[in-house]
Symmetry: C2
Subunit: 228 residues, 2 copies
DNA sequence: CTAGATATATGTCAAATGCATATAAGGTGC
DNA sequence: GCACCTTATATGCATTTGACATATATCTAG
């Protein structure tokens, strides 16, 4: 039986590191964007990469991801969900590293403050298809986009990209940014109203150039959710 | 910066092991079933557990999962998909073990031969809610069931549980076993016919007690698929 | 040849969705 | 105050989708 688990002598096996990488997304100017960090060290020094970290000895995977979120953007709230795990033997040139990718969603307002204060952080378009990123991070981001698109229809995931109160127009814009298509307005409206994910506040958006729209909020049970 | 990645001295960090665990499911007598293995060693000696293994130094995660599949049931074909990763610090009493769970689907025919020949393997009902399994394997199986249920509507996943040719009644039985509900026959029929996942063979099932149904097969592009 | 059982096809209805249009409600400029 | 511009919101209608009931076809058993 190869590779039998005989953990009382871990030194007998080639060392493995476990990290988490964070695909932190938001909608910036109608476009899906992802948080990237310029690397200071080899390998891939100077290149952009997803923020990540070792998993600490006392942490579970989600705690590690949330710690990265806190360290990079100072937030502990927000949608956070395990995405996929990546373990090609050569994905890190230094040693065997298995990375558990998480994806996180935040309203753009919360992010811009954090990014503005740190020269190494950027909000880049999530369309990274031809960008040169470190490691296999292009692949990881592609997974995240696909997951986001797939969940849109049956989960309130888009609400995590909006502030506490928002108009239906805002919400539709988020959906359209994620899907890359335009949606029918009355149909979208009806679908959202019937979904149970949002409720009207009775208030209206301030200082609109024309008729102000009603402000909505998330219903309580949909602040942040995890799904396998 | 805590837990900075300094991999040139891996011995400086507490060792971590990475394993794969396999949730191998099938439909047995109209019920979703999962392959379990009785453990010979501590911890949890004598208890049932998911088959699993270390990830070898030259393997990627999927290769490791496929190797487990080959070692346990002698199959290299079949649906195999990464499920979720589990990393509670204390999930294995011996040391820190992060496990990448995969779920695999096979027609019951292929499995029964393999299970019959090995005393340590069992096909148990996938309703393991109150079964005492080793580690966090009850949780892992619950994830797998939820994933399977969720994918049924938009993916040809159920076909992986059937032999190369099958009737629509067989296919509907698989769906009903996974969903735990009964489905409307004409509606199910139309949905499958329109899905593009199956095609008629022109042949009919042999030796039916009454009018024999047509046999169908998977269309080519849906033999086995992976999705994040 | 007939009865019994199941496969397969069709018809109807309700719900969901897409699209067009009508009405409401604010601001702006006069 | 009043016309009018723009957007929000509501309504009507055609198309599609799916559930369900029922009809027809086709096999075996006897």
């Amino acid at each position: 039986m190869p590779y039998a688990l005989q953990p009382y002598d871990p030194a007998a096996y080639p060392p493995v590191a476990v990290t988490v990488d964070l695909v932190l997304m938001t909608v910036l100017k109608g476009q899906l964007a992802v948080l990237l960090q310029r690397r200071g060290q080899e390998p891939f020094a100077g290149q952009l990469a997803l923020p990540g970290s070792f998993v600490g000895p006392e942490e579970n995977l989600e705690m590690a991801a949330r710690r990265v979120l806190a360290e990079k953007v100072g937030m502990t709230e927000g949608w956070l969900e395990q995405l996929y795990s990546f373990g090609e033997p050569d994905r890190d040139p230094r040693m065997r590293v298995v990375s558990i990718a998480y994806f996180a969603l935040l309203p753009v307002g919360s992010l811009e403050a954090a990014v503005g204060g740190r020269a190494d952080l950027t909000l880049a378009s999530a369309d990274v298809h031809e960008m040169p990123l470190a490691f296999d991070h292009v692949t990881i981001i592609a997974h995240a986009r696909a997951r986001l698109r797939g969940k849109l229809a049956y989960s309130p995931v888009a609400l995590a990209l909006l502030p506490d109160s928002f108009t239906l127009r805002d919400l539709q814009a988020v959906h359209e940014a994620i899907l890359g298509t335009s949606l029918n307005k009355p149909a979208f409206r009806r679908r959202m109203m019937d979904s149970g994910w949002i409720e009207g506040t009775g208030e209206r958006e301030p200082a609109a150039a024309f008729r102000p729209a009603e402000l909505f909020r998330r219903t309580d049970r949909h602040r942040s959710r995890h799904r396998p």
